[in-house]
Point group: C3
Chain length 219, copies 3
Amino acid sequence: MHPVTFSATLDEALNLVGTFVFALSGALLAVRKHYDIIGMIVLAEITAIGGGVLRDLVLGAVPPAAFTDHISFLLPIAAAVLTFFTHARMNRIQAAVLVFDAAGLAVFCVSGAAKAVAYGIGPIESVALGALTAVGGGIMRDMLANEQPVVLREDSTLYAVPAVLGAAIVVVVTHLHRYGPAVAALAAALVFAVRLGALRYGWHAPHPKRNGPQGDDDL
Amino acid sequence: MHPVTFSATLDEALNLVGTFVFALSGALLAVRKHYDIIGMIVLAEITAIGGGVLRDLVLGAVPPAAFTDHISFLLPIAAAVLTFFTHARMNRIQAAVLVFDAAGLAVFCVSGAAKAVAYGIGPIESVALGALTAVGGGIMRDMLANEQPVVLREDSTLYAVPAVLGAAIVVVVTHLHRYGPAVAALAAALVFAVRLGALRYGWHAPHPKRNGPQGDDDL
Amino acid sequence: MHPVTFSATLDEALNLVGTFVFALSGALLAVRKHYDIIGMIVLAEITAIGGGVLRDLVLGAVPPAAFTDHISFLLPIAAAVLTFFTHARMNRIQAAVLVFDAAGLAVFCVSGAAKAVAYGIGPIESVALGALTAVGGGIMRDMLANEQPVVLREDSTLYAVPAVLGAAIVVVVTHLHRYGPAVAALAAALVFAVRLGALRYGWHAPHPKRNGPQGDDDL
């Protein structure tokens, strides 16, 4: 069902990396919220598979891939258990987690968009589904933890933008009949680079102008 | 797939108005929360198409209409961009937005209930799906923005009630084999009028009695 | 569609009890948040049918059972109306509500896992879907009410664990071709007992070690 993006092996490997690092980010948030091991597993699962499950429900690809491919389900549990025992050290490698998270973002927006196109969804909608695959799990993680979703925070650096960019490349190139492993790899690499650039240099999307101190701040 | 409600043209026009004004309400909330343009687009999309997508997932009508009919997807982006540049002036026309929002509520509960009946869903459930189509997007908007959903707020004026009323009329009249453009238009007009009346005169649904000052306020 | 678990009659009766008591817990939360009767019905519905609807969407069993079996839909409305008039007295029977809630947890994890297995889902995923059926409605209730989900709270007693346990028993025994009414009843009874034990004796799942007062508490 899952369309080949790079080579099947590279695609699979990157998907596993994406699943694992997204799960780590969920488990680490659970530690910070003082949840128990169950809460850690719940947040790890939802972050890792949430975006793909939403995409598959919209596509009518049920049961979603995460419920048929056993590894997608077990990997987040492993990530939660690992985090349980080593979270003190992990926080020191927060930077590494952000890098892995950028890798997950990159591979999920590419594979998500490719799957949407393969299901015959229109171009704009395929870009949206690709981006949803990449950012949906993180949004569900933050909603469950009763936090402002990271992608919506006032001071967030570019996160959805590189995902949209990567998905758009996949869709455009597929419509030009030029999609293949090289393009997929390049699109993912670009997403990865833009996300790392945003983290390093604090790139932001534009904000609407404020209305001065009297403002419209209060609802 | 979408059953004709009024005339196809009137139905389509009203659906577009509903989509656009719901998107405006999402984009305006994003401005007040100091989100960037990406956050504005996300909230505009979810508010405009969220209710219909939920309805279609429940009906098994996948991909949901919003993912096959391109305009539903582009209109919220346009609404977010418009809001980005003109939100200062928009807040002065808040009253107009509430009127348009009431129009969206009216047309979505009618078209949502009609679609549910067309899919062979039972009467009670069709009423619920019609109401969900009308209020679901707003609920998802508020959950994403980490706000109390407007339909659940302590001081909310009648919002779900007119939607239930409009959906119920559609369902009853369809079961009497009397459903047609005139009935649909009348049902939508009634929803619109009741919602405007609730806004103007502060109509509320009944609250359960409080237990006095010691109360049961603390969870 | 719904696989027989105990006897059809016992299964149905327990499902109705589960639906009703979950609806009561939603309606009571709505009272505490000072929602009106509409908010009470919304929270009662979502708590009672939310978990099963999520399960059915994932399984592709649409429309979900709650939208075809009329009683699932009407019972939460009845629970909300009952709560509207009698909530003052109900709070005094909070203990009874917790007992009924444990019964709902027990029957929903068993019937959810059995349905997932019947749809050909793998063992791990069936356990997860069984647990999701049992705890999903409560999570959606708390998210809608803008509260920390009860299953994720720092001080929560075992709640998901007995649900996972019950679902796992169903899955294992089904794979051994030994599943039947007696096993289902025993699994549900065990879930019920473990949940009551957790409430009575304050059993918790393990927490990850804190990092001392300087901690990693601040995000």
